[in-house]
């Protein structure tokens, strides 16, 4: 019974799950018990064999096909939202009256601007959008400059290391800003964010030592004047 417990401890020990105290107890038992010492050696041998399955590379899935399968089921969601029509008609009529009433209040308040104090909320949101874009470009600049200045002649094993979490953060921030400015009529800014999106995706998927892609990223940043455009935008 005592040995059964120690045999379990052997497994936990090989997985690094024992406390120092438990480890010491196991070690002193192994010095006294030949059967458990043999079990340790055998378990190590089994773990060693299992290591060979870890060594096998995991194949890549067909990501495009997998996404298509997922995305086709997600499209059905808006149809379910149509169930709102199941509300009685009078509910829609009441909602329409409330809406017209609220619209009257908004139009009235705009019609008499003397009653308006402080900046309009919409303006405030545009100001904060500009600020977010400037901060986003500020975070992007050092990362993109690193790639823009990449030289294949420099022996850095063909690799630039940027923290994955930072890259993902930038990618998501860029995506959200791109969506947020979609309603603004600013094609130059839209295009700049599209380009940045493309570059960040390339950088995120970049494999270690992939010099051709590094050069491609560098050329895209330089040929499309990404850093210059960001600088100009920050100064406007």
């Amino acid at each position: 019974m005592r040995c059964k417990k120690f045999k379990e401890k052997i497994i936990l020990d090989l997985y690094g799950e024992l406390s120092e105290e438990e480890k010491t107890a196991l070690e002193s038992h192994l010095q006294e018990c030949a059967e458990c010492a043999r079990d340790l050696e055998y378990t190590k041998k089994v773990f060693q064999a299992l290591e060979y399955t870890k060594k096998a590379d995991i194949p890549e899935a067909n990501w495009e096909r997998a996404w298509e399968g997922i995305s086709s089921t997600v499209e059905e969601r808006p149809k379910r939202q149509m169930s709102l029509l199941l509300f009685p008609k009078w509910a829609y009529a009441a909602a329409a009256i409330v809406f017209v009433f609220a619209l009257g209040i908004i139009v009235g308040s705009l019609w008499f601007p003397t009653l308006q104090k402080g900046p309009l909320p919409q303006k405030a949101s545009l100001v904060s959008m500009d600020q977010s874009l400037k901060e986003h470009f500020e975070s992007l600049k050092p990362v993109l400059a690193e790639y823009a200045n990449y030289s294949p002649a420099e022996e850095r094993n063909g690799t630039i290391t940027v923290d994955k979490e930072i890259l993902e953060g930038l990618l998501i921030q860029n995506y959200l800003l791109k969506r947020a400015i979609a309603s603004q009529k600013n094609p130059a800014l839209q295009e700049l964010l599209e380009d940045v999106d493309l570059i960040l995706r390339e950088v995120t998927n970049l494999r270690k030592g992939d010099k051709p892609t590094l050069s491609l990223i560098k050329d895209t940043i330089n040929q499309r004047d990404i850093l210059f455009k960001m600088e100009i935008f920050q100064k406007i």
Binding site: K55, D57, I58, I166, G169, I172, Y175
Partner: protein, 202 residues
């Protein structure tokens, strides 16, 4: 680093809110960020790329349909939430397809990483034999034991993490793990006896 993680969490929250509104671009980004983690887990569990791809799809479909119910306030971030769905989908998949899978083998064996012994056909054939044997050994475990073994051995999670993902006690995880490793050890004994392999040489 902590600051970077905080920023990522904030962005993730915004992304999920977009996805909850049915924004396909946001859903695609969530897929892109998490696809490998789920696929690797599924592959290590079923040892077959086609089945792992099915599990990947089922996991995301289930997650995206449950997304309106996903709550930021309960402290679970998106990836662990999705991972838990991935674990459950893998177990369910194996239960549903157990009979069909018994007749199906593991993938062909082109996936051994470069090694100086690569060109040695004897080495490759031994490795293949061991891998196939391990697949047979794993098939003899229950679905739950097998998942706990995969989470511990291949995904290298702690007992505590596994207990949280599997929604059971740490004691129960240890019990299942001992049974799984015990069963594999027992089956390896016969294999080692039949084949006087010196593992160090492989």
């Amino acid at each position: 680093m902590i600051e970077a993680i905080r920023i990522v969490e904030m962005k993730e929250e915004a992304l999920i809110k977009q996805a909850q509104d049915g924004d396909k671009g946001a859903l695609k980004m969530l897929f892109e960020e998490n696809k490998k983690k789920i696929f690797y887990l599924a592959y290590q569990y079923v040892h077959n790329a086609e089945d792992a791809e099915d599990i990947l799809q089922e996991t995301f479909i289930k997650a995206f349909h449950s997304l309106p119910k996903y709550d930021f306030q309960n402290g679970t971030s998106f990836s662990p939430w999705l991972y838990r769905i991935g674990i459950n989908c893998s177990i369910d998949y194996l239960r549903r397809n157990k009979r069909a899978r018994e007749t199906r083998g593991i993938d062909d064996f082109p996936n051994i990483p470069s090694n100086s012994q690569d060109s040695d056909p004897e080495y490759s054939s031994r490795l293949k034999e061991i891998r196939e044997k391990i697949d047979v050994f794993l098939k003899k475990l229950t679905e739950k034991q097998r998942m706990i073994f995969v989470l511990k051995h291949y995904q290298e999670l702690s007992i505590k993490e596994i207990a949280e993902y599997m929604n059971c006690s740490e004691g129960s995880v240890k019990k299942q793990l001992f049974r799984a490793v015990g069963s594999i050890k027992k089956q390896f004994k016969d294999f080692f006896t039949e084949n006087s392999y010196e593992m160090q040489e492989i």
